[in-house]
Chain length 319, copies 2
Amino acid sequence: MSETQAAFDRKTKPRRSLGALEDVAVRIGALWGVAVPARPECAIVVAAADHGVVAEGVSAYPSEVTAQMVANFEAGGAAINVLAREAGARLLIVDAGVGTPTANIAAGAAMTRAAAEERLREGRALAARLASEGIGLVGVGEMGIGNTTAAAALCAALLPVAPAAVCGPGTGLDAEGVARKVAAVTRALEVNNVDAADPVGVLAALGGFEIALLAGVLLGCRSARVPVVLDGFITGAAALVAAAIDPAAVEAMIAGHRSPEPGHALVLERLGLEPLLDLRLRLGEGSGAALALPIVRSAIALLNDMASFDEAGVTDAAR
Amino acid sequence: MSETQAAFDRKTKPRRSLGALEDVAVRIGALWGVAVPARPECAIVVAAADHGVVAEGVSAYPSEVTAQMVANFEAGGAAINVLAREAGARLLIVDAGVGTPTANIAAGAAMTRAAAEERLREGRALAARLASEGIGLVGVGEMGIGNTTAAAALCAALLPVAPAAVCGPGTGLDAEGVARKVAAVTRALEVNNVDAADPVGVLAALGGFEIALLAGVLLGCRSARVPVVLDGFITGAAALVAAAIDPAAVEAMIAGHRSPEPGHALVLERLGLEPLLDLRLRLGEGSGAALALPIVRSAIALLNDMASFDEAGVTDAAR
């Protein structure tokens, strides 16, 4: 880390004046074990799945919208298509269980332990494949009607906090809807009787298929030393799961933005991550990650391309 | 404004879920008088000048650094060169008085009223030229050793607030340096005896040449209906001057980032602007504006390129 910071300190600017940009480049340098990381190719992984807990009336949208939005992703018409294009990033849509929802977590386990492990493996393999194809920076996102409830249940179990602390309006619930969400999460924690010391068990009990797959992507990115930009609350829940499985996973994580969902700030605080953006986004899809990619890439570009005080003949007041 | 918002509300996403991106696109639509603004070509204007108030010991860097950094800009080695390239923006460096400093504001007026008016005219003409060349989005920045002191004096006079409320470390002053800055601003307000009802008089008494030129750019951007992304505290002072001359100028302004300088939050609050970024940048040069340009462009791209609920066959829960 100190070598990347030293390289920044030779550039023609006051020390530390690039703030969070210096911090993110220093973290990437440490992950890669190099003083000056090269400019990365970028990809965004969006995992989609359906959720049986929608039966509890916890979403403003019906389950059919998950498949409709995946079709919209494939046709190029969604927000993430536009933002991936703007960011110059490859976009991968992964069907982790669209149309084959998890069981209703308010009544029992979302999936078997084997199904959770399978999604984790798939996610790890996807990260390894992206790394082998030369991707050096990944953004993650998700689509799944009902998945803020799964994310809230995971966060309530793993942080741990009371359900009300992590249940918000999601994509547009009213106060009654939020109350139904709190009730569903409360029941999910009761009936599943999870043990936070067994994160794969917690994931199987409460998690969505897309959240399990994304947790695998995060673990695989750490293994491949590919920095990965998180999106909002749901990818934050996947990050909590990944960090519970392997605390070193956090080393590869960059917080793209802060969601207005009340649980997200708690997740970022637990992970020790400072978000790059705070734009009141509550869309998901990886939109906040995509908007943060150019900032991360700019941080690396500054480290590569700026002149040093010596090269430019500029007086260095701090020397 | 309502037409741009209505266009956003037809897109395949929950209402208002793109937060600040929707707000910025709506403001640009209102400025242009169209529901869906077209994707703009971008330029960044960096104005540079020297400041006689450096004699008061108010900067961590010597005055010679202004000219050295302008040479660095011309050679392509500074942060703003890298960030303009990353943002796909043209970069214009304007010498507003490098090597020909303003008089020391702690002892009298910075410049004559005629000199201030001349810089305002030059700035307006530059904005008009950029608009005529097809530039549809401008970022502004500055370079000038000592210019946080000039900016602090302008803000203290125009907000108005006590000097201590708007004097911070700038690019790296220690506590004694900040105390010297507060003393210099206090004397500047005393000896110049400015009248906030005469903003051009305030500008001539306290302002830097680059700040005057940038105030002209901001006024010219409003006249040409070109949205303009502000940078940090110094461009904020130019924005205060422009808004005091013509309150409508604010309609064209977008706050790129929030500087850690204590006066900047006060300026943004007065202008009624919410910054897009908060990355602890304290560099200037237009760096925060440049980093915000892709976000503004993404907001416009979303409005142009996303599919509507009808086009994509997605169920619209809010209808």
